[in-house]
């Protein structure tokens, strides 16, 4: 997550409408653009959330009942138990993942161990897979038919242990990347000063390293907590009888059709997410100020024992990460786990076990492509208007605020909100319900914030006077945007497209409420196949998702290389 913060100066003093005197044709175009995206954000984010809140204070017939639903929720011991369970899992996972990710990131940034680039790439493997995958793998390994079940010493993998291990796998890359950033933003001069004063290494660690990285660590912890508490795929597959908030929503809504109670759980789930969002934004702001422009980057010096220790640790993590992925891959190819481990492609014949088998995969491809293309256009324009727009400062500030909101809304909650909002026949937008379009819209909104910030960071690096120059040369802003801003931002554009595509391929939480028979997605099929016990087919479909994501990632890498070659012509002397 980039720490881009927008500051929009408000122009007080003059009356709001007096400013419209100056609005030229171009400004109207810009205003139109902002307004269009703003209306979309309101229609596809604010109003659905409002519908969710409304639902939580209504009974099943739509009468206002105040906080009765919340009271009912509070009085039902099973549901309350879920909160405890969710918090326990989230806190423990957060601690474990942060500890491991910190060591891993420390190895990548502060040691001279070999294969750093490889380790870095390996650590991002989990991003390519739906969160269902580690859970399935763990069942292969430690489940009732598990290969190495004995290692658990009689404990069951179905429950908190399984959830936590799978979660650590799933959130590891996110946490690790924040840790790497935190540990990279340091000033070598602090270490030189400490060394010059003859400080012991342990003291340097606690007085220089940790304080320097503390905001990043807090940020990583917050992200770990939020991802864990809001993820639905892992506990659904491996949670067994251990209920958590995320599975409760699903059960209330899909299982019992109890929409009001589902809405209540959704709001309960929104609280920790909102809370961590606020902490994260606060911490990010401080992080930025920590590194002055004149800081000297830190280059570690070789240290045999330390480098070896971190190499071993990173190797162990690699075994864990690759092992989980490998298990799923192996499980998908094995004829009949665990009795006949000979390889075959029989489990990839999805149409045999699920009427929507292969078509769901192609649906996913279509949905992910559309999300990437439509998303990047909307998000680029939005970020452009926020960063480069002139005038309408308040409107742009409001727009930016809305663009930050999706990060605080867990996918499950967003999906549920969509159900409440779009399924109502009186809603003029209800024609979208159970179409591919709604899946695309929901996914774009779900992943809007990070993409918006990435784009904003890229745009911020572009001279803010380009618009002024363009106006003085009487070239409309949109021409300059296409001729200058878009080419310069191509790396960020490619980055955002990949991010949107991969997330659209792997996401389950938001779309699980929204798909229809015709628009079923691959990740949903994984879920369904696992639900009915077709574990190998589930693993196979998950592998299809991984393969697709990986392909897109490689394409992105190649494109970046080509772009770099071209862009270097703009830079070199």
């Amino acid at each position: 997550m980039s720490a881009a913060e927008i500051s929009v100066t408000s122009e007080g003093g003059s009356s709001r409408w007096a400013k419209l005197r100056h609005v030229g044709r171009e400004a109207w175009i810009m205003l139109g653009g902002i307004a269009a995206i703003l209306v979309a954000l309101v229609a596809f984010l604010v109003l659905p959330l409002y519908a969710l809140f409304k639902k939580s204070v209504e009974d099943d017939k739509g009468n206002y009942v105040g906080l009765v639903n919340f009271q009912e929720y509070y009085e039902s011991p099973g549901l309350l138990q879920s909160i405890t369970n969710s918090l326990t899992i989230a806190v423990l996972t957060m601690v474990i993942a942060c500890f491991l990710a910190f060591l891993y990131a420390y190895g990548l940034t502060r040691t001279c161990m070999p294969f750093k680039k490889t380790f870095r790439a390996i650590a991002t493997i989990p991003i390519l897979a739906p969160s269902l995958l580690p859970a399935i793998s763990l069942i292969y390994l430690f489940g009732n038919q598990g290969l190495i079940k004995g290692l658990l010493l009689g404990e069951s993998i179905y429950g908190p242990i399984g959830i936590m291990i799978a979660m650590v796998f799933y959130i590891f890359p996110h946490v690790m990347m924040i840790m790497v950033t935190a540990l990279s933003t340091t000033d070598a001069r602090l270490y030189e000063a400490a060394e010059a004063l003859g400080t012991r290494p342990s003291r340097v660690f606690f007085t220089v390293t940790l304080p320097g990285a503390i905001y990043g660590i807090v940020s990583a912890a917050v992200v770990a907590f939020t991802l864990t508490i809001t993820d639905f795929g892992v506990p659904k597959v491996i949670g067994g009888q251990y209920n958590v908030l995320a599975t409760d929503i699903y059960k209330q809504v899909v299982g019992q059709q109890n929409f009001s109670m589902g809405a209540v759980v959704g709001i309960v789930l929104l609280i920790p997410a909102l809370f961590s969002f606020v902490i994260d934004r606060h911490v990010q702001k401080k992080q930025v100020a920590l590194l002055s422009a004149r800081a000297v980057p830190y280059h570690p010096k070789p240290h045999k024992a330390r480098d070896m220790a971190f190499l071993l640790f990173c190797l162990a993590m690699t075994v864990f990460l690759v092992g989980i992925l490998g298990t799923a891959a192996f499980g998908s190819f094995a004829k009949f786990w665990p009795y006949d481990l000979s390889l075959s492609l029989v489990h990839y014949d999805f149409d045999k076990v699920d009427p929507n088998g292969w078509s769901s995969f192609f649906n996913s491809l279509k949905m992910a492509s559309m999300t990437a293309v439509i998303g990047v256009v909307v998000i680029f324009l939005g970020a452009y208007f926020v960063e480069k727009g002139q005038g309408f400062a308040r409107l742009r500030g409001f727009f930016h605020m809305l663009a930050m909101m999706p990060m605080a809304v867990p996918g499950l909650v967003l999906g549920l909100a969509y159900v409440f909002f779009f399924s109502v026949p009186e809603n003029p937008l209800s024609f979208l319900y159970s179409t591919m379009a709604i899946l695309v819209i929901c996914t774009v909104i779900h992943f809007y914030t990070v993409s918006h910030l990435t784009m904003l960071t890229a745009l911020k690096q572009i001279d803010k006077e380009f618009e002024s120059v363009s106006a003085s040369l009487k070239v409309p802003f949109y021409k300059t945007m296409f001729r200058v801003h878009v080419p310069i931002c191509l790396p960020a554009i490619s980055e955002v497209m990949m991010y949107l595509f991969v997330n659209a391929m792997t996401t389950v939480s938001a779309v699980v409420f929204l798909y229809s028979a015709d628009t079923k997605l691959a990740a949903i099929t994984v879920l369904n196949l696992d639900d009915v016990g077709d574990q190998a087919e589930a693993a196979a479909m998950a592998m299809m998702i991984v393969a697709t994501s990986l392909t897109v990632r490689v394409l992105h890498g190649l494109l970046m290389r080509a772009l770099n070659a071209r862009h270097s012509a703009w830079r070199t002397r």
């Binding site: 171009e26 002139q390 002024s468 106006a471 040369l473 001729r483 862009h567 830079r571």
Partner: protein, 379 residues
């Protein structure tokens, strides 16, 4: 100096119409007043500098003239046309920024032709014009390079060529030289001034560098806190600053605190300083400051000089290469000091060193007097 008849006329008689007229322009950002009721006239072909420290409103005024930020109130006229509410795209100006704002992904040629291409003139005409401009700024043959391949000074010239490409009626320069090293800056200063003279284009430059303003401008507009302090030629501004603020901001200045004894005479310590008081605004007993520039403190040929002649001792000498800056003790029981710039020749001829006692004189026409409650007197 005034080689062009048009400009001469501007000084002597009322010209038919100013090129640019700024009338009571005020700009507020929230509660902060960036421009406070600014009025100014700029004539055709003039090179005007807005000079002042950061935050004085000079850039805000430039951006208001360009239409990049609109004034909160007041009007702006260009050639008599009210452009107060006209968006920048419909105004007639070219602009160069401190960052140059060259498009990094376009070659020099395409940067320069950026505004031309949009005018739907023929490709041939565009190419010719680009070539002409690049020659004009001394960059012929660099058309197919990317901006990053050029030095800062060269980038600056490209930005200038781009701004001039569409033959705008007015050139706006926002701290165009600030990002360059001293040597390059000095050379470009000269070149830009030459170019401006050749093209005879009305030019407004914003700068915080007094040397830049003094060397380049026909007229300087000194600003502080959103207001215009003084408008005048470089010589006027330097020789006769209207306020202690201007006196202190431009060049070095001694401020001697004293009291008016009788008309035209100020007592500073034991010194009786004869000053000119054309306006007669100083009455007996008024607390005033008497100002003299360090280089105006006279030492040579004092034989027949009677007025404002004092004996002083050199307390300290700073060697500054081409001259020395001496700190003089006013003496006579006063602990006031003043600085004086002595040429290397003078230092040698008079064998000046620390502790030397010498006679100095304050030529009357070099002195400025201000009330001691005037704004801008350094503490």
């Amino acid at each position: 100096m005034a080689r062009k008849p048009g400009r001469k006329a501007a000084g002597n008689e009322q010209p038919q119409q100013p090129f640019l007229e700024i009338r009571n322009v005020t700009k507020k950002f929230g509660d902060f007043v960036a421009l406070d009721d600014v009025s100014l006239e700029i004539h055709e072909g003039e090179f005007v500098c807005f000079l002042g420290p950061s935050g004085c409103g000079k850039t805000t005024l430039l951006r208001a003239i360009a239409g990049l930020d609109f004034q909160t109130s007041g009007r702006i006229y260009q050639r008599g046309r009210d452009i107060s509410d006209v968006p920048p795209a419909d105004r007639d100006f070219g602009i160069v920024f401190q960052s140059y704002a060259l498009f990094p992904n376009l070659t020099v040629e395409r940067n320069v032709s950026y505004g031309l291409v949009n005018r739907k003139v023929g490709r041939k005409a565009v190419n010719d014009r680009v070539e002409e401009l690049l020659t004009l700024v001394g960059l012929a043959g660099s058309g197919d390079k990317y901006p990053a391949a050029l030095s800062g000074g060269q980038q600056q010239r490209v930005a200038l060529a781009r701004a001039l490409a569409t033959s705008p009626g007015m050139l706006l320069l926002d701290e165009p030289l600030s990002a360059l090293d001293a040597k390059v800056r000095e050379r470009l200063r000269h070149e830009m001034k030459e170019l401006q003279r050749t093209l005879d284009i009305t030019t407004i430059m914003v700068t915080h560098d007094q040397e830049e303003a003094l060397t380049m401008a026909d007229r300087i507009v000194v600003m502080s806190d959103g207001r215009i302090e003084q408008v005048g030629s470089p010589v006027e501004i330097y020789r006769h600053p209207v306020s202690p603020y201007v006196a202190d901001f431009i060049g070095a200045m001694n401020f001697l605190h004293g009291k008016v004894m009788r008309k035209g005479h100020v007592k500073v310590g034991k010194m009786d300083i004869a000053v000119e008081d054309h306006t007669g605004q100083f009455k007996k007993g008024d607390q005033v400051v008497v100002c003299i520039r360090p280089e105006c403190v006279a030492v040579r040929d004092l034989g027949r000089v009677k007025t404002n002649r004092y004996a002083m001792a050199i307390r300290d000498i700073e060697f500054l290469g081409s001259y020395c800056r001496a700190t003089l003790a006013v003496g006579g029981g006063s602990d006031e000091e003043l600085i004086a710039d002595f040429s290397i020749n003078l230092m040698r001829d008079y064998k000046l060193e620390r502790g030397t006692k010498l006679n100095v004189a304050f030529p009357k026409d070099c002195l400025e007097v201000y009330h001691s409650d005037a704004r801008g007197i350094p503490a």
